[in-house]
């Protein structure tokens, strides 16, 4: 009996040690980015970021100060905000309307159309790049923030509609009918009943969508021009001289991380649910 206890204890501390090691491996790259972003160009060229663990005097906010003076990157940061916030609002709004319609309203071809929407879930963004670029070029949306937003909204919708329709469908029928008998119009029911009840799903969708767009590079790489490019694209164009400009890349990358990290820690539960749910994409 005692030996099993001992082996169990040994086993569990081995597991603990292993997990600590794994966690360290996971944190190290991010720590490296953070420390690199706080070191001068010269220090970064001379040796690795880990030397600053023993020589904390190397660390300063100079890179960040320089970054904030770089109007191009600051503009790119605002572009990221200007792209992700409207996209999120639009996806959630349009998908909620459609989700409610698909769940509770009657219109011709409803079920068939819903299956099509579900089918569109897996259309890769890549397939839309060229045709939509031509389309946007024809109507003057190419290279604008609005164009990037519209593209993101369209490709966020299949999942949004899918998620919200399934969630709204669970609202007890009696509740809706009671509201209808009380003389509420559909719009009123939607706003007063469906949206509040759907809040958890709306939050998950919003968080997922926000992060998806905030972190996107591919779509903006094509649809945004120098004026409207978000942070990811602006940093990507700096990558060509990687090594010589870690002083811009590391703090820039960290700046782009801050917002998702804040979202992550502020809405842990919704965040995980949103990412999990969104992963079917």
């Amino acid at each position: 009996m005692r030996t099993t206890k001992v082996t169990r204890w040994l086993g569990s501390s081995a597991v603990q040690a292993l997990l600590v090691l794994v966690a360290l491996v996971w944190v190290t790259p991010l720590a490296g980015l953070l420390l690199s972003s706080l070191r001068s160009e010269r220090d970064n060229a001379a040796d690795g970021w880990w030397t600053s663990v023993t020589e904390p005097s190397q660390l300063s906010f100079d890179n960040y100060r320089a970054l904030l003076d770089d109007s191009g990157l600051v503009q790119a940061f605002w572009n990221t905000v200007l792209i992700s916030v409207p996209t999120t609002v639009l996806v959630v709004g349009v998908a909620a309307l459609a989700g409610y319609a698909f769940a509770w309203l009657e219109f011709p071809g409803r079920d068939w159309l819903f299956l099509v929407v579900v089918g569109l879930l897996v259309v890769p963004v890549q397939i839309g790049l060229l045709p939509v670029a031509k389309l946007f070029g024809a109507v003057g949306l190419f290279g604008t923030v609005a164009g990037v937003v519209l593209f993101h909204v369209a490709y966020g919708l299949p999942f949004g509609v899918f998620l919200l329709r399934n969630f709204f469908a669970e609202i007890p029928r009696e509740m809706l009918e009671a509201a209808r008998i009380d003389g509420g119009g559909e719009w009123r029911i939607f706003r007063r009943l469906v949206l509040p009840l759907g809040r958890p799903a709306l939050a998950s969708l919003a968080i997922f969508q926000f992060l998806w767009v905030w972190n996107d590079m591919l779509v903006a790489l094509l649809f945004a021009d120098g004026e409207s490019q978000p942070l990811t694209v602006a940093l990507q164009s700096q990558m060509r001289q990687f090594g010589s400009n870690i002083g811009v890349l590391a703090p820039g990358a960290f700046l782009s991380l801050v917002v998702p990290l804040v979202v992550f820690f502020a809405f842990q539960k919704h965040f995980v649910q949103g990412v999990m749910a969104g992963s079917v994409k």
């Binding site: 997990l19 996971w26 944190v27 790259p29 490296g32 980015l33 040796d47 690795g48 970021w49 349009v94 459609a98 309203l105 219109f107 409803r110 159309l113 099509v116 929407v117 579900v118 089918g119 569109l120 879930l121 259309v123 890769p124 890549q126 397939i127 839309g128 060229l130 045709p131 369209a154 919708l157 509609v161 399934n166 469908a169 669970e170 029928r173 559909e186 958890p200 799903a201 998950s204 972190n215 590079m217 591919l218 940093l235 990507q236 990687f242 090594g243 890349l249 590391a250 990358a253 991380l257 979202v263 992550f264 539960k269 995980v272 649910q273 949103g274 990412v275 999990m276 992963s279 994409k281």
Partner: protein, 467 residues
Amino acid sequence: MDRPPGNTDSATAPRSPSDGPPRTPRRPKARAAADPRRRALRRRRLLGAAFALPALLLLGALVAYPVVFSVGRSLFDASGDRFVGADNYAEMFRDPATLKALRNSAVWVVVAPVLLTGLGLVLAVLTEKVRWATAFKLVLFLPMAVSFLAAGIVFRLAYEQDPDRGVLNAVVVGVHDAFDEPSPYPTARAREGEGLSGAPADGYTSGGLRPGSVAVLPFVGVAPGAVPAGATAARTPEPAPDGLAGTVYLDFAPGAGGRAGVVDTREKGLPGMTVEAVGEDGAVAASARTAADGTFRLDGLGDGTYRLRVPAANFAAGYGGVDWLGPALVTPAIIGAYLWVWTGFSMVLIGAGLAALPRDVLEAARVDGANERQIFRRITVPLLAPVLTVVFVTLVINVMKVFDLVYVIAPGPVQEDANVLATRMWLVSFGGGNDQGLGSALSVLLLLLVVPAMVFNIRRFRKGGSR
């Protein structure tokens, strides 16, 4: 994460209501139906269509139409003027760069989901045994919040070739040097015309010597600061009766007055240098390392002439670490970065499945004397099979579409070795290739490859009981 996400959250699980959304019962065509009621019905239907309209318009114009357009465009040539049928699809398998991308995509799709599912499963099972599981999950899930661009920058830093700058090579070199001591004198070379011939890369050899002789082997090219701390003043040893003796030293005295090829008072020995005696048949007859004063002694040599050899290993350049982002390793290296991002996802999803397993089955097995490994293999894994499948399929879809990470991490010169379907499609269509025919064909191929997963997803959704 105060409760296990994934399977229990009503917010997101595509589960369907027990009673299902109503298909508003078709109203009997009451001849006497009052006009206002009919109007209300028509109004409701119009309203339904109006609610769905914005979504349907956007989806139609920006998602559905592009699929049709791309399929059509893929049948035309680069400029779009000439119909070429399936030529672009054949071209994929002829063009070496595209073929390489297809191969890489195959590697990705096979390797990444398997590793991620396996890793997620193992970690999910292990975290069940510790109290700080939530904190651990949080740490591993963190990279999911990070953009692939930022992850790319993180790993470009980590994979840096120079061991003084890239953390991975710093570790690799550290481990390597702990087992295999680095060569002590990478810069040293023999003083010319003083009895040794050869080059650092091939090693040096002396002329023939008989046992009992003493050899003086002068070297230069070692900075005074690079001489090992333990080195003492060089001296010429006593001859060995049945062997060779000698000294390997730095033929350079700080200050002035040193004579070339002679052991002067202030000159230091070069300790740790390997010296071999090579017989007439070319075989190594004896081998020794120099002492702190540079002396060595090769005893037990039979009659005959021997050459002294100072092998190249003494001068080998230090181990430089692994060329992570070179052509050979760039794809595995990027897959490694991908694992960093996605392991948390797979672990949390599988962990949620694990938490939902019937405890009594596991307990019963334990009572029956099954050990942990048996429980894992015979009970946990089979019961988890549905969850594992979901994770795996989801990962396959995502891996198929991987773009940013490859685009960002692979340095320009090896981009072609790292390309996958999505990056190749990008380069062909927009990144200079300017062949929109082939580009469209690649995007259609990408769609076709995800279709099986789409079918799986829709099936799962319908089985969930939509109706």
